[in-house]
């Protein structure tokens, strides 16, 4: 029955692919040759698992002593997928050599259940790029499964697949089915913490009509629904309880849509949101398959690593549990109380290996040690009187006598000295050595990874060990990724093992949740720290994507001394596709300029603020760009708003006050902002008196001189300033 469906599906396909697919359909009339294809996105294009992912790709990180991608491939094998494409970005060679030596590659292993398995290396820097690349390769011939390389699931997808096909036969515009796991309304460890995906679903048709993401620091907790939706659909469910496991059943049309919208980067917030919003335009519908039994979840950050590990040990993922010994050579046995032990584990008589614990082959635990709720890899040596609680310890780790490890992750070949204390949330990366009596503070991240010196040089430097952290004879230094400098809260959400909002300032409006190509390792610290601006500025949390992209675009132009005319086109495109407000545009531009200038000021050259500002404004077309885009209406309110954006952003910069003053001066000189606006902005700020934020006051202090000068100039020649303003307005209207 599936053949005939497939034939029809193919006939419904679009243009070029039509003939090919129809042929494929015909071939399958005789025997069931219509195979299922799947695409695994093995690169996450994120840095949430740093410092571990500096050295290993996410999909090879061990979850319950089995690399993550094994779970994903088991899921696909269970579903009966025949052809697999694995998209890798960073660490392609590691993934490749792993797959080639595993049982999965059909050319090297008789055990492979797949007909073909192709590893595609891509230079893509986002999921969107990868899918656009996939589209251009023309490898996908029919419906395919799109999954991430960190999926753990035991769902049988046959039913979802059948429903998808039935819908497809009825309506060729039903291009995608998302499989979502119901997670209940209460607290749930596996539900995404922090950012809550909101799916608006028409339950009758299983159709997703709107998608948004909410985060706890968002000022308003509303989802904006188009009233048309309420007219068109009799029932609507707004669901925040769903665990998004990232399993999508896609038709080739999905790839075409990705290709058409070059600015989509992530599958949900960009693609899903965008396609649903453009329903009127393209008529494509996306459906949901909400399942409420079996298991499906992604390991998308360290907290979910923790929760999915617990689920695996609790056997929720059955049969994907350690004692199924999925990987060749494993020999786990299950003992009551969820103790999974491999052969050749040496336990001292007086040690206690408690519940929900995994012990890998060759591991020894010394006398008096207590291990509970922990996963310990192979060939680890745990000394005497060690306490290990809720911890994840990978392979070949040495832990000295009397140490205490709690809720931490310790990666391969790390050496922990005697009587060390590792506190909750600590991440200790590969080969780090800690000397005796070291204490690791909560959430500290220690690595030995080589670091790229600067964004422009490709050489990697060994970073000297930091004795204050790892002790006199230790190896390693504290890892801070770029965003750490500016206390990015996205990192706080995703890159710590323990979820907490305590240290976050909840009065702030909103934060960025975006983690895309920008975050790859060789980026300068610049684009990342810009995210900090969200913390203080944004009050429209739903459009972080726009802000992020916009700022990045302008920054690129400024960095490269490019031409603003082309930047403007791109910018306007972005604006339209995201439906950004004028305020957002101003904010993005303000942030980009102030960021660029402060980089110049704080950078190695130590440019003077005024010169830096001059050089920024000297970039081709910068001035008209500011006039036409940032202050398109030319009203005084807009100019004031723009200044306020600048001021707020400057708060986060080391040289903020200087930059603000320099930029104000330039704005005035280039006749972008009239003096009326300056004065009004200043008076409003002054008017706030005691209510004004101390930081804000500090930042604008330096600009005071300039404003004073303005006032004097105004009092000297009132008519002059008036004409100035008129001129600038006229100019902006001309263009």
């Amino acid at each position: 029955m599936s053949h005939s469906q497939k034939g029809k599906v193919a006939a419904g396909g679009k243009g070029a692919a039509k003939a090919k697919k129809a042929a494929g359909g015909k071939k399958s009339e005789n025997d069931r040759e219509d195979t299922l294809q799947a695409v695994i996105l093995a690169d996450s294009f994120e840095t949430r698992f740093n410092p571990f992912t500096l050295e290993t790709p996410r999909c090879l990180l061990p979850l319950a002593n089995t690399p993550l991608i094994e779970y994903t491939l088991e899921f696909l094998a269970m579903a009966g997928v025949a052809d697999i494409f694995i998209y890798c970005g960073a660490h392609t060679s590691a993934v490749q050599s792993y797959i080639l030596s595993s049982k999965w590659h059909p050319s090297t292993s008789a055990a492979s259940p797949f007909n073909t398995l192709e590893i595609v290396k891509t230079t893509a820097r986002s999921v969107g790029d990868a899918l656009r690349d996939l589209d251009s390769r023309d490898m996908i011939t029919g419906d395919f499964l799109l999954v991430h390389g960190d999926l753990v699931s035991n769902l049988p997808i046959d039913e979802a697949l059948r429903n998808h096909r039935e819908r497809r036969v009825k309506d060729k515009n039903a291009i995608m089915t998302m499989i979502l796991r119901a997670g209940g309304l209460g607290e749930h460890r596996t539900k995404a913490k922090g950012i809550t995906p909101v799916f608006v679903v028409d339950p009758g048709k299983n159709r997703c009509v709107h998608y948004e993401e909410m985060h706890p620091l968002q000022a308003h907790k509303y989802v904006d629904l188009d009233e048309e939706l309420l007219k068109d659909h009799k029932d609507i469910e707004v669901r925040t309880d769903l665990i998004d496991c990232g399993i999508d059943i896609c038709t080739p049309d999905v790839l075409a849509l990705w290709a058409e919208s070059f600015d989509y980067e992530v599958p949900r917030r960009h693609f899903l949101h965008g396609v649903l919003k453009d329903y009127e335009l393209n008529g494509k519908t996306i459906h949901t398959e909400i399942v409420d039994d079996r298991y499906a979840a992604r390991v998308f950050n360290l907290q979910s690593y923790d929760s999915v590990s617990k689920d695996v040990l609790g056997r929720w993922t059955y049969p994907l549990v350690p004692d199924s010994n999925l990987v060749a050579g494993q020999s786990y046995k299950f003992e009551r109380g969820s103790l999974y032990k491999e052969n050749d584990v040496m336990l001292a008589r007086t040690c206690k290996a408690g519940k929900k614990t995994v012990l890998g082959k060759g591991t020894s635990v010394g006398a008096g040690s207590v291990v509970s709720n922990s996963i310990i890899g192979r060939d680890c040596q745990i000394g005497k009187n060690v306490t290990i609680k809720d911890a994840y310890i990978w392979d070949n780790v040495l832990i000295g006598d009397g140490s205490h490890v709690e809720r931490a992750i310790i990666a391969n070949e790390a050496v922990i000295g005697k009587s060390c204390k590792i506190q909750p949330g600590a991440l200790i990366s590969y080969k780090v050595g800690l000397s005796d009596n070291t204490e690791i503070r909560p959430n500290q991240r220690i690595t030995r990874a080589k670091r790229k010196r600067d964004d422009d040089s490709e050489t990697e430097d060994e970073v000297p060990s930091d004795p204050s952290i790892v002790g006199s004879s230790g190896h390693g230094y504290e890892f801070r990724d770029a965003e750490e400098f500016s206390d990015d809260e996205e990192a706080a959400f995703h890159s710590s093992l323990i979820y907490s909002t305590q240290h976050l300032n909840l009065s702030n409006a909103s934060i960025s949740t975006l983690s895309s190509s920008l975050s790859s390792a060789d980026e300068p610290s610049g684009p990342r720290s810009r995210l900090s601006s969200f913390t203080s500025l944004s009050d429209d949390g739903d459009n972080e994507g726009f802000h992020h992209d916009a700022v990045q675009g302008i920054l690129d132009t400024l960095h490269e001394h490019g031409d603003f005319d082309s930047a403007k086109l791109e910018f306007m495109g972005l604006r339209l596709s995201n439906d950004a407000t004028d305020h957002q545009i101003r904010r993005a531009i303000a942030v980009a300029f102030s960021k660029h200038i402060s980089q110049l000021v704080d950078g190695e050259q130590k440019t003077e603020a005024s010169k830096a500002a001059a050089s920024a404004f000297a970039t081709g077309g910068a001035v008209p760009f500011l006039k036409n885009v940032a202050l398109s209406t030319g009203t005084e309110e807009d100019a004031v708003d723009f200044l306020r954006c600048l001021q707020k952003d400057a708060v986060n910069r080391g040289s903020g006050p200087l930059v603000l003053a320099a930029v104000c001066q330039r704005l005035y000189e280039e006749e972008v902002v009239g003096e009326e606006a300056f004065l009004r902005w200043w008076e409003e700020a002054e008017g706030m008196g005691e209510d004004e934020d101390v930081e804000m006051k500090r930042v604008r202090a330096k600009t005071g001189v300039f404003v004073e000068w303005l006032r004097e100039a105004e009092s000297e020649s009132e008519s002059g300033s008036g004409s100035d303003e008129e001129e600038s307005e006229e100019e902006s209207e001309d263009e």
């Binding site: 094998a77 492979s112 997670g183 209460g186 298991y295 056997r315 059955y318 999925l326 519940k355």
Partner: protein
């Protein structure tokens, strides 16, 4: 389930279809993965898959002497057992095949040494007299003669004869209905030692005439097509007989039902076992009785409900087990009064029950059994009320192993069947164990009904000895040998 059939997910029928086309090595690995992923579960599917796989292994393996073949089978068997040690039938089937190969080899050598060709010829004649027309045997001999002449060495002639003589599996399969045909008494010894005693051989009359004629026809066909001198063919034939046995075990068990179920009795059973259902349906053809089914929540309750209520039409599509004949009536359709109840009420109802019939997952050599979770409570309650407990099981489920830790045989399944995963607080704070099986000690069981007759638990060791060679019992554990 029909959904599985329509989709891509591999299962037993996909696997069996793929066997012929794939190279042996990938078939082995494939079965290992399917077992590990629990896409082939439960005794019969596992047994069927194992038997078919071994058939391919033997058929496609080039071997020069019998030891190599044994080693190869052991090797494959070890890997399969390692993949899923709790599906004990996998090991059972491997051991059965091993024992059968050893027998063939022994026969082979014996016949070489002693000139008993005439003896066996007369045996054959005797067995033929029961069923097939005697004209077949000249035909068969002529084929052997032909091949002998083509191969043209004196040794070969001898060997050909000896092979012809060493056909215990075939002969026994014929003798199963042969008592009427006057089987020579010395044959029974032969049967006892025979590696693959035909399921029907022991209980006379346990077989329906229909079955015998089928079996007869198929084995006859084998006999004509396969050259008798080929040891490989013998082995393959032996495995095919095991497959046949798997197919027919339930029918043979069901055929005995009238001896155990009487009119107006109240029978208590549990879970949705096909064997038990057939047993009951067979009895329902002649008698009226009441069946109380405990739903065996949470792992099997849906299937149990279905077995009570499903209509004929849906069942025709619901082909979940490939090689077993479809079973098209629900219990209530067959005129049985069916009462479905929760597992918790077992003890309360036990005083009114005349007999308890249990299905098994595996039977252990000591007479104990591994059965769906809940079986032990039922057996215990029955003991308190002195209600007889009858276990229905094919011989293929009888394992020669005697595990010292019964805990290790019990599989723990998906806790999601007990606690909904949506319930975050419970998931976080509870440890949920979902044992799929129970161990029922032998003293709680009164009688085993197998496809070769009914036995007391204490007698099972004897059946084990008949079916498995001692050297094969621990073949998967080199350290115990």
């Amino acid at each position: 389930m029909p959904s599985l059939q329509a989709g891509y997910a591999p299962n037993l029928s996909f696997y069996l279809k793929s066997l012929k086309a794939q190279p042996v090595e990938s078939s082995i690995e494939n079965l290992i993965s399917l077992l590990k992923r629990r896409q082939i579960t439960n005794s019969r599917p596992c047994a069927v898959a194992t038997a078919h796989l071994l058939l391919q292994v033997v058929a496609k393996f080039r071997w020069t002497n019998i030891d190599k073949l044994i080693k190869r089978i052991q090797d494959v068997g070890r890997r399969l057992i390692e993949a899923q040690p709790r599906e004990m039938v996998v090991g059972n089937i491997v051991r059965r095949v091993l024992g059968m190969v050893r027998d063939e080899a022994k026969e082979d050598r014996n016949e070489d040494a002693s000139d008993s060709a005439s003896n066996s010829q007369s045996d054959r004649g005797a067995s033929h007299s029961g069923g097939p027309p005697p004209t077949f045997s000249p035909l068969r001999f002529s084929t052997t003669d032909d091949s002998d002449s083509t191969e043209a060495t004196g040794d070969d002639v001898f060997e050909g004869q000896s092979h012809g003589a060493s056909r215990p599996p075939l002969i026994t399969s014929h003798t199963s209905y042969a008592p009427a045909g006057g089987l020579p008494p010395q044959k029974s010894m032969f049967q006892l030692l025979s590696a693959n005693p035909s399921p029907a051989s022991t209980p006379p009359g346990a077989q329906s005439p229909q079955n015998t004629s089928n079996l007869n026809a198929t084995s006859l066909a084998h006999r004509i097509t396969t050259s008798t001198k080929d040891l490989k063919a013998e082995v393959i034939e032996g495995i095919e007989e095991i497959v046949d046995e798997l197919d027919q075990a339930d029918d043979r068990i069901a055929a005995q039902s009238l001896e155990y179920i009487h009119s107006n009795e109240v029978i208590l059973t549990h879970s949705s076992s096909k064997s038990v259902q057939k047993f009951l349906l067979e009895a329902a053809k002649k008698r009226k009785f009441t069946v109380i089914i405990a739903e065996s929540y949470p792992n099997d309750h849906e299937a149990t409900h279905k077995s009570v209520t499903r209509s004929i039409s849906t069942d025709a599509e619901g082909a979940d087990e490939l090689s077993t004949p479809k079973f098209s009536k629900s219990l209530s359709d067959a005129g049985i009064t069916v009462i479905l109840m929760t597992d918790a009420t077992i003890f309360a109802i036990m005083s009114r029950v005349n007999k308890v019939i249990l299905a098994t997952h595996a039977v252990i050599a000591n007479g104990g059994l591994i059965a769906a979770a809940g079986a032990r409570i039922i057996a215990k309650a029955a003991r308190v009320h002195r209600t007889p407990v009858i276990v229905v099981s094919g011989v293929y489920k009888l394992s020669p192993q005697y595990p010292f830790e019964f805990e290790s045989l019990i599989e723990y399944g998906d806790p999601g069947n007990i606690v909904r995963y949506q319930d975050g607080a419970l998931v976080e704070n509870l440890e949920v164990d979902n044992p799929v099986y129970d161990y029922v000690p032998p003293d709680l069981v009164d009688l085993y009904i197998t496809n070769i007759g009914a036995h007391a638990p204490s007698y099972l060791y004897r059946i084990v000895a008949d079916h498995y060679k001692t050297e094969d019992i621990n073949f998967d554990k080199p350290e115990l040998q």
